[in-house]
Amino acid sequence: MKLRLLALVIASTLVAAACGSDDTASIDGTTITVLTHDSFAVSDSVLAEFTAQTGVVVELLSSGDAGTMVSHAIVTSGNPLGDVMFGIDNTFLQRGLDADLFEPYTATGLGTVVPGLDLDPDHRVTPIDFGDVCVNYWVDAAPDFTATTLEDLTNPILADQLVVESPEASSPGLAFLLATIAGTDDWEQYWEDLVANGVSVTSGWEDAYYGEFIAGGGDRSYVVSYASSPAAEVIFADPPVDAAPTRVLLDSCFRQIEFAGIMRGTESPQAAQAFIDFMLTPTFQEDIPGNMFVFPAVVDTVLPPEFVEFAQLSDNPHILDPAEIEANRNEWVDRWVEIVHG
């Protein structure tokens, strides 16, 4: 009896060991492709460390913006271009889920993520980073009156001071529209007031920030940009400056969360899972802010000093349920077009 028990223990240990080694052996030497958008950036050393740990080589494949990436994934659904998608955000998330793009996987570090970021109860996607889209203002130029709420932007003192991007063509533009939908009692009236107050609309962020905002030589002192933009104004200042020339209107922020998911149809699910786990480790998380100007999703990740000093995050960002966004987005945008462009 004792002997049989011993044999069983030995056998099961062997089996377990075999399985264990089999596990690493099966992903060692595989190559996975991570689909992403053009704003994605990661230090080479970080990917090299993942390869050293797991033996898995990571190749990246990027295209346009998050919208382009998701539409590519939808037309190639079932025969995916890669194994993992990184960078689908909460404004596009439901579209990806509806198209059944992802395989569920509960990441090892999911418990360490900032509460409120994990939006998919089925764990088809894992939150990796987040950031706010907010109205920025030029500190010196702002008239005596500085806006502190969304409503303040409709104040006639700030007439002809705000420039926003169109939600039809721009992701910060859409995020700001969503912020006004979540953050005002009557968003349609709010936009009518903004129009009456001389809001200017551009097609993209570049045209707003560098074309009409003071930073690029324009004459408007309020612009829809990111919560991290003031930090970038310091890091990439020329000549160097001690303080950011811009600040964030914290009441105007919409929270964008970026997720990663395993593509349905991948031939390397285990390696893909290992990469999702890796994205929640300190090595990857600490690399995020300096490269992509967004905040790491894992609680208490060490931030670069410029971030600590100049980047602001809203305590009460506006946010909407991805399903609600997907269900209403076209209608909202159409209504917005009617109000703004007549």
Binding site: L61, G67, S71, R95, S166, E168, G216, S229, F236
Partner: protein, 537 residues
């Protein structure tokens, strides 16, 4: 033996372009159209036809392209005449310089124009340019100026001036000689250039959105809106079908107008027919200001740093900033390699196809003519999605291949080569070829000694365009999936402009200046290949 090789050559002349066109354009585009005409697609097409918004968009797309084309021809025609009159070396320099706008990013040009408008007081009040159709038209003239100057100018330089001399001897005025003798003979080149400008304006994306303002829509921006912003792929495919049909109709029309035989035989010492010098001078001055303003703005911004001026932004190009997966210099190198490969493909395919268009059997010639020009007027979304959906199985799973970028660039480049080469080949005096044949020259030799040297004139002009288009291409490259290390310079530039900070902006401007220098010198180099050929007849 000899006839065997010439048969092989003749078959290859047809088969190589046909395979390229079918695989990389017809098959992908047809797959997208099939989606558009599928069960839901017919309904979507019906909805489009019934929607007054969509009808307005189609109408706007057509008329803005038509007006852009007319304006570009008017503005650039005198400059083309000037280019034709210049001595060969200076002509080559001007022809290289005018290609510079092809690599300038729309955002930067828009910013420079707006600076100019402000200085001229055109940004507000009764005469307002910002976010108007006028801004779109102006930008189209700016970007397409080179098409007319190079295509018409080069053709013009090859026109024999003896007909004009005879007209003048017979007492015709200079104006009448120009109108009745020179202009009709220039027509093939003018139509050819017009077709290119029309298609470029028909599918322009950034200019419409940035300069025209966010509420302005064309077929091209609508396709993008439905495909990407709304992920309504059925409607996007239906719109893509409408675009393909409209562009086909347009190409068939202009190629018919272009198909007139001018007569060019040998290289004249001085070009035929001239426009009064004072008119040219005035026109060229205006055009030079228009072309130079954005370039001067760029130069100034690329040098401005640390409160003064210096080359720091240029030095910074060698170091990777966090926004880019590689240093900007790597992006420049990648762009150069892509442009060389794309140009090589375009020259091979376009050169062979032009021979078929001009000398091939009637039906085949028509199909080649239409098929190889169509990509110029086809949305980047159609081509991009088409490749993703159609070329997704081995042996041609090209979706993630390095080649997909130069091939996409070459599709546009080939159209340029065909459109610049065909009018030149057609203009060869048939008597010249007949005479050679009668004197016993085999077809191969006629081709080598008559068609080739004269055709080379069109070929190098087309090759220069193919290079410039590839070097500056943003839309399709950005849309296609690619490895980050294959970063191109226009994409790097756009990335640099996507984060606030004067250091990044300065570096973007420096990158644009390097691109301008690269395109001008490369086109100069390409066009020097025909240096000897003009005197060889």
């Amino acid at each position: 033996m000899k006839s065997a090789t010439s048969t092989v050559a003749r078959v290859a002349t047809v088969v190589v372009p046909a395979v390229f066109l079918s695989l990389f354009f017809v098959f992908p585009a047809a797959t997208v159209v099939a989606t558009g005409l599928g069960a839901d697609g017919i309904g979507a097409l019906g909805d489009l036809a019934g929607s007054s918004r969509q009808r307005n968009i189609l109408w706007f797309t057509v008329w803005q392209a038509a007006i852009s084309t007319a304006l570009t021809v008017l503005v650039a025609f005198p400059a083309a005449s000037l280019v034709a009159r210049l001595p060969e070396r200076r002509r080559r320099l001007v022809r290289a310089m005018v290609t510079v706008p092809f690599v300038l990013p729309t955002v930067v040009v828009a910013g420079a124009f707006e600076g100019l408008f402000q200085r001229l007081g055109l940004d507000s009040g009764t005469i307002r340019l910002r976010h108007t159709v006028w801004a779109i038209l102006l930008a189209h003239v700016f970007f397409n100026y080179a098409v007319v100057v190079r295509t018409v100018g080069s053709f013009w330089a090859g026109l024999d001036s003896r007909l004009e001399d005879q007209a003048r001897v017979l007492g015709a005025t200079r104006w009448r000689t120009f109108r009745e003798v020179t202009l009709p003979r220039l027509r093939p080149a003018v139509w050819s250039a017009s077709a290119i400008v029309f298609l470029f304006s028909f599918t322009s994306f950034g200019i419409v959105l940035i300069l025209g303002g966010p509420h302005r829509a064309t077929l091209e921006t609508e396709i993008y809106r439905y495909a990407v912003t709304r992920t309504n792929l059925t409607t996007a495919a239906a719109l893509a079908t409408v675009q393909l049909v409209a562009v086909s109709a347009m190409v068939v029309m202009t190629t018919r107008l272009e198909r007139r035989r001018g007569v060019v035989t040998r290289s004249p010492r001085r070009p035929a027919g001239t426009i009064p010098g004072r008119w040219i001078a005035a026109n060229v001055t205006v055009a030079a200001v228009l072309l130079a303003a954005p370039i001067a703005t760029l130069l100034e911004r690329s040098l401005a740093n640390n409160g003064g001026y210096g080359f720091d932004h240029y030095r910074a190009l060698g170091h990777r900033v966090r926004q880019l997966p590689a240093p900007a210099t790597t992006a420049l190198w990648n762009s150069l390699v892509f442009a060389v490969v794309a140009t090589a493909i375009a020259v091979l395919i376009g050169g062979l196809a032009s021979l078929v268009v001009v000398h091939g059997r009637h039906g085949l010639a028509r199909i080649f003519d239409l098929g190889l020009t169509l990509p110029l007027g086809t949305s980047a979304v159609t081509i991009g999605f088409g490749i993703l959906i159609a070329l997704d199985q081995p042996p041609v799973d090209l979706r993630t291949s390095w080649w997909i970028i130069p091939i996409a660039h070459a599709l546009v480049g080939t159209a340029f080569v065909v459109r610049t080469m065909v009018p030149v080949l057609r203009s060869i005096d048939p008597h010249l070829r007949e005479a050679a044949a009668v004197l016993g020259a085999p077809p191969g030799r006629v081709r080598r000694e008559i068609d080739l040297p004269i055709g080379l004139r069109g070929l190098v002009v087309g090759a220069g365009f193919a290079f410039a288009v590839s070097l500056g291409e943003f839309g399709a490259t950005s849309f296609l999936p690619r490895r980050p290390e294959n970063l191109t310079a226009p994409i790097a530039l756009f990335r640099l402009l996507s984060t606030p900070g004067d250091l990044l902006r300065g570096q973007a401007m420096a990158l644009a200046v390097v691109l301008m220098v690269m395109v001008a010198s490369a086109v100069l180099l390409i066009e020097s290949f025909r240096g000897g050929s003009e005197g060889s007849l």
